[in-house]
């Protein structure tokens, strides 16, 4: 029944196919291979995670006790700006791009991205964008107006150091790279799937990447336009956002959040996809409600463009405007809930293997729901009027960024590291890392909800010794150090895996999708032959012909059968 089919390739012959992979650094720099570029993206992510985390630890030292003088106010302001900017643009964004660039061709049964050179170009331009951003430290001061750099604080008369110029150019470059990779991913998914892989058979991760890429294409131009205008203001003495000369402070906010809100879903949808794979494979069951999981992803991405004003509820735009955006923001909870419950449904009735990856996925369900619920509390406008710009927001954003995106990415890391490195990690180390990280995370950020509620604004370099402030901040700082320790353990784990890890074999988890058919690590040419696809678990069909989905009618493959 199962026959082999030809693998689609990009139009141009595979560049680099004749290059020997053992030529060291030069070979990496000149590589156009999607796997090497994916790995470089992930290494960049890890590097910036450590740097951004280090900045956070410095901040937490300063905030450990009231009226601390460890850092000067301006240094603190640069730190949180760089921390937020780094984490969003140079950790989460390249992480999802890196995973997508590595895994999408493998999962759809292709040998390359549609445009391998564009792929390399996009990576390197993002890479240098990050470089430039950090160069600002040497060039007279890092940006210091927060990751969303509100006008008119971002104007030269209020922020004279060149930091914000570096911010503009750094983000513009990495933004161009991100758009390039997104377009590349869309074309790859549309044109290079193995011929029998209909859209209804796409792995959920690929679906989420596809949706995500469209989100990027639509959201980043708005940021790029805002940055260009800001550069015109700062370099050519323009007046877009210069309120002293007729410019508008709110125009910046609209343009920024028109990008900024979709961006938070941009960095969470691919992790949702990763989790969908992880839940299936470790529960030994197909995903529950495939069409609903995919459909809710589409719903989220559409709603994402209609909620940006929820970051501006306290700007005095009037109740009519606010009501509209309150409603759209609350609505996003519905498709997100659909995902959460479908993942629970995937675990239900399974035979769950609690590897480190699965532990992260399980913890994700709790942490992300907490973060999502605090998000809904902001959508309830009067609550936002009280809590916006306090530590409650800081708590929300870390619960969704770490508890959501980063936990998803860690789940993906442990799930795929045997594929990428060809070696198994030590579950003991993995579990130590997991528990330290999760405990540290909750210590650090849970108390920040309370800090916000008792009146602590965000972005303060220090605070008066009011009731509750010092003990809660101390707990938060200790939690942060625990996370720091766990990250050191993670580095050791990585080293241990690469140096001492046992050979993983091609399919250590008995996975469901095509990347597990390739060798571990995959060769330069991923596949020579592939079986045809009859369901969204083609490899499961191949390896478990008795219980495979291929023999079932569609409504059974998707759980859309009418129930009597």
């Amino acid at each position: 029944m199962i026959t082999d089919v030809e693998i689609p390739e990009p139009l141009a012959p595979l560049p680099g196919a004749t290059v020997n992979t053992n030529q060291g650094l030069l070979q990496w720099i000149s590589s156009v291979d999607h796997k090497q570029i994916g790995i470089m993206y992930l290494l960049m992510t890890l590097f910036y995670l450590l740097v951004g985390g280090l900045l956070a630890l410095l901040m937490r030292v300063q905030l450990m006790v009231p009226t601390n003088t460890f850092l000067a106010p301006d240094s603190y302001n640069q730190l949180f700006t760089m921390h937020g900017t780094t984490m969003i643009f140079f950790v989460l964004t390249p992480a999802i791009l890196g995973l997508a660039v590595y895994m999408v061709p493998l999962q759809i049964g292709a040998n390359e991205m549609a445009f391998p050179r564009l792929n390399a170009f996009s990576f390197w331009i993002s890479f240098f964008g990050g470089f430039l951003l950090y160069f600002s430290f040497l060039a007279g001061g890092a940006p210091d107006a927060g990751w969303f750099s509100y006008a008119p604080l971002n104007q030269t008369q209020y922020s004279a150091s060149p930091g914000i110029d570096y911010y503009c150019i750094g983000l513009l470059l990495s933004g161009i790279g991100t758009v390039g990779t997104a377009a590349n991913l869309v074309v790859t998914i549309i044109t290079l799937r193995t011929p029998s892989m209909h859209y209804r058979y796409l792995p959920v991760f690929v679906w989420m990447v596809l949706i995500d890429a469209f989100l990027i294409l639509a959201a980043f131009p708005s940021l790029n336009a805002a940055l260009v205008m800001l550069l015109v203001d700062r370099q050519l003495d323009g007046h877009f956002f210069n309120t002293d000369a007729g410019g508008s402070a709110l125009l910046w906010q609209h343009l920024f959040w028109l990008f900024g809100h979709p961006e938070v879903y941009i960095v969470v949808l691919p992790p949702f996809g990763v989790l969908s794979e992880v839940f299936q494979v470790y529960s030994r069951k197909p995903i529950f409600g495939y069409p609903f999981v995919v459909g809710s992803g589409i719903a989220i991405s559409l709603l994402a463009f209609g909620v940006w004003v929820h970051h501006m509820f306290a700007t005095g735009m009037g109740n009519t405007v606010n009501s509209f955006f309150a409603v759209s923001s609350m609505l996003i909870g519905i498709p997100t809930g659909v995902k959460v419950f479908n993942w629970l449904g995937t675990m239900y009735g399974g035979s769950i293997r609690f590897t480190t990856g699965m532990l992260f996925a399980t913890a994700f369900l709790v942490e992300f729901t907490i973060g999502g619920l605090s998000g809904i509390s902001f959508a309830i406008v009067p609550i936002d009027w009280q809590l916006t710009d306090t530590y409650y927001v800081v708590a929300h954003l870390h619960y969704v960024f770490l508890g959501g995106s980063l936990f998803g990415l860690f789940a993906g890391f442990f799930y795929w590291v045997p594929k990428i490195s060809g070696r198994l990690y030590s579950e003991t180390l993995g579990k130590w890392f997991f528990w330290l990280f999760v405990i540290g995370f909750n210590l650090t950020f849970f108390v920040q909800h309370i800090l916000g509620i008792i009146g602590m604004p965000r972005r303060v370099y220090t605070y008066p010794n009011l009731a509750g402030y010092s003990s809660l901040n101390l707990i938060s700082s200790l939690g942060a150090f625990l996370m720091g320790v766990s990250m050191l353990l993670f580095l050791y784990l990585l080293y241990d895996t690469l140096k001492r890890g046992k050979r993983a074999g091609d399919n250590p988890w008995d996975g469901y999708t095509f990347e597990w058919l390739a060798s571990s690590p995959p060769q330069l040419k991923n596949f020579t032959l592939l079986p045809p696809v009859y369901s969204f678990r083609p490899l499961h069909d191949l390896n478990h012909p008795k219980i495979g989905d291929y023999q079932k009618p569609d409504e059974e493959k998707y759980g859309t059968k009418d129930v009597d």
Partner: protein
């Protein structure tokens, strides 16, 4: 197929970029009432002329594509050349508009109208320039004989971009030049 899809995606993304710049322009010059300086500062007549040039370059490009599909390399070169020349003429026109504005001290930093005007039209001009460079390269390639395969996606891909640049200008022209004149009752 792959190239064309890519260009369509990029162009769609660019469209949103221009929309943002356009929104800024509209916000600063139309809200709460149309700034009367807009109509009186800009030269509708001259720009109409150059607009016609740019739009007709879309027609010449379309002829180039037809010639290409029919394998008529000579015609192809001619039409491409026309397209490039029309694009250059448009840029020269834009340059003359800029220099007359600057000579009246209407610089980027004069006010929100000039800031948003120069940014919007400047970025459009940059896109025209990029288009001209790419078209010149294509023209050069026809001499190298690299464009003999009538199924090549190169020309249609460049075409998507070039038509897009023209459409953007049409919208910009209407909003920046034409409407203010009608709304303020300025006779060109």
């Amino acid at each position: 197929m792959e190239q064309k899809t890519l260009i369509k995606l990029v162009v769609g993304s660019e469209a949103i970029f221009f929309l943002a710049l356009l929104m800024a322009f509209v916000y600063f010059t139309y809200v709460p009432v149309l700034n009367p300086r807009v109509a009186s500062s800009l030269d509708l007549n001259r720009t109409s002329l150059f607009t016609v040039m740019l739009l007709s370059s879309s027609v010449t490009f379309w002829r180039a594509e037809v010639s290409f599909r029919r394998g008529r390399t000579k015609q192809l070169r001619l039409w491409l050349l026309c397209t490039v020349v029309l694009g250059v003429v448009f840029l020269v026109g834009q340059g003359s508009e800029y220099s007359s504005l600057l000579s009246r001290q209407l610089t980027v930093s004069k006010g929100t109208f000039t800031t948003s005007f120069f940014t919007l039209t400047g970025f459009h001009g940059l896109h025209v320039l990029i288009g001209i460079v790419v078209l010149s390269i294509v023209l050069y390639l026809t001499f190298l004989g690299d464009l003999d395969d009538p199924d090549s996606a190169l020309l249609p891909s460049v075409g998507i971009y070039w038509h897009f640049v023209d459409v953007v200008w049409a919208v910009v022209f209407v909003i920046v030049y034409v409407l203010p004149h009608f709304l303020t009752g300025h006779t060109p």
